[in-house]
């Protein structure tokens, strides 16, 4: 109901309505972008792009899904596009090391206010997990991020990714199997 009121106000050109949409969704969108892209700067750039698109299209939103599902979908697609473009830029600049790793500026969430030894341990753990997730195929990675970090139900992930619930389950199973194989040697090498 509240969402419908907001859209109505946006259609009536109420300037405060878009700010309300921004305030209540910015953390959600920024987090998805951050998880998809692995660093703050890219996440902020893409978050801006997402809201620019939301601003352009919100008046035409038809409530075929929840507003948040639509936001997630735009955020996921924009992040994937951003990543593809970056990868291509690296190819064009022949920076093959960065193409291989793809995780060159990995930021770690919440790694700010802890003691140095805790921080090193935490950074290692998070970096290992994030790097391994970053190497998964696009669709497996998207499903896993929405499930693990956004805690979305399979049905909503399916709607965001435009696939069936069974496909989401299969993507998640394959992602976890791959990670179970990849994570162990990474931790052992520390």
């Amino acid at each position: 109901m509240r969402e419908q009121d907001l859209i109505k106000r946006i259609r009536a050109n109420d300037p405060r309505a878009f700010k309300e949409v921004f305030d209540s969704n910015v953390t959600l969108i920024h987090n998805v972008c951050f998880r998809m892209l692995g660093n703050r700067q890219d996440a902020e750039d893409v978050t801006q792009e997402v809201f620019l698109e939301v601003h352009k299209s919100l008046k035409r939103f038809r409530f075929e899904s929840k507003l948040s599902t639509w936001f997630y979908r735009i955020a996921v697609n924009r992040s994937l596009n951003h990543q593809r473009k970056k990868k291509l830029d690296r190819w064009l600049s022949l920076d093959f090391n960065a193409i291989e790793e793809g995780t060159e500026n990995l930021d770690i969430p919440g790694a700010n206010d802890e003691s140095p030894s805790d921080l090193i341990e935490k950074k290692d753990t998070e970096r290992i997990v994030q790097e391994a997730i970053g190497k998964l195929p696009e669709r497996q990675r998207t499903a896993l991020l929405l499930h693990r970090y956004e805690e979305l139900p399979y049905q909503e992930i399916a709607s965001i990714m435009d696939v069936t619930v069974a496909s989401v389950e299969s993507l998640l199973h394959r992602a976890k199997q791959t990670l179970a194989k990849e994570l162990f040697p990474l931790k052992k090498d520390l």
Partner: protein, 160 residues
């Protein structure tokens, strides 16, 4: 289940994301197999201790920057925005775009008559229009229907 099957399922086991029977089999295996048990401990230390629900706060200036971009967007003429969009599309999907361009170039190449073909076509058209003039076909409305049929037969015989 073999050791490798157990190891493959360890993250799903840690998430409790397996049928009850499989959960039980793995639990039993881990209590007797030190190799898989070690792997289980290592994976649990990573998978369960990662602070996955910690949210990353966006910069407080994001709204101001967004407003500036919206203003810039609204002041840009529509055709410039469309052009930008196309260029971005080319950058994000370069291979399909290259394939389309290659297909268009090939189409133009195949569809353009060669020099000799053009020459032969020109000759044919010249002969046909001379015949049309001979027969007075350029004054179409005065030609009786039967004469028209005969003339068409003659024209088509030129092509053989």
């Amino acid at each position: 289940m073999t050791h490798s099957e157990i190891q493959q399922h360890l993250l799903r086991y840690l998430d409790g994301d397996l049928p009850d029977e499989k959960m039980r089999q793995i639990r039993e295996h881990l209590s007797t197999c030190p190799v898989c048990a070690e792997r289980h401990t290592v994976l649990a230390s990573l998978w369960l201790s990662e602070s996955r629900l910690e949210k990353v706060k966006p910069s407080p200036f994001l709204w101001t920057r967004l407003q500036a971009r919206i203003e810039e967007y609204e002041q840009t003429p529509a055709f410039v925005r469309d052009l930008k969009k196309i260029l971005q599309g080319v950058l994000v999907h370069p291979f399909p775009t290259l394939a389309v361009i290659a297909a268009i170039v090939m189409g133009i190449y195949i569809g353009t008559p060669r020099q000799s073909q053009r020459h032969a076509d020109g000759q044919l058209v010249g002969q046909a229009s001379a015949k049309v003039e001979d027969l007075g076909l350029d004054q179409f409305d005065v030609v009786p229907p039967s004469a028209l049929g005969r003339s068409l037969v003659e024209i088509s015989s030129i092509q053989k």
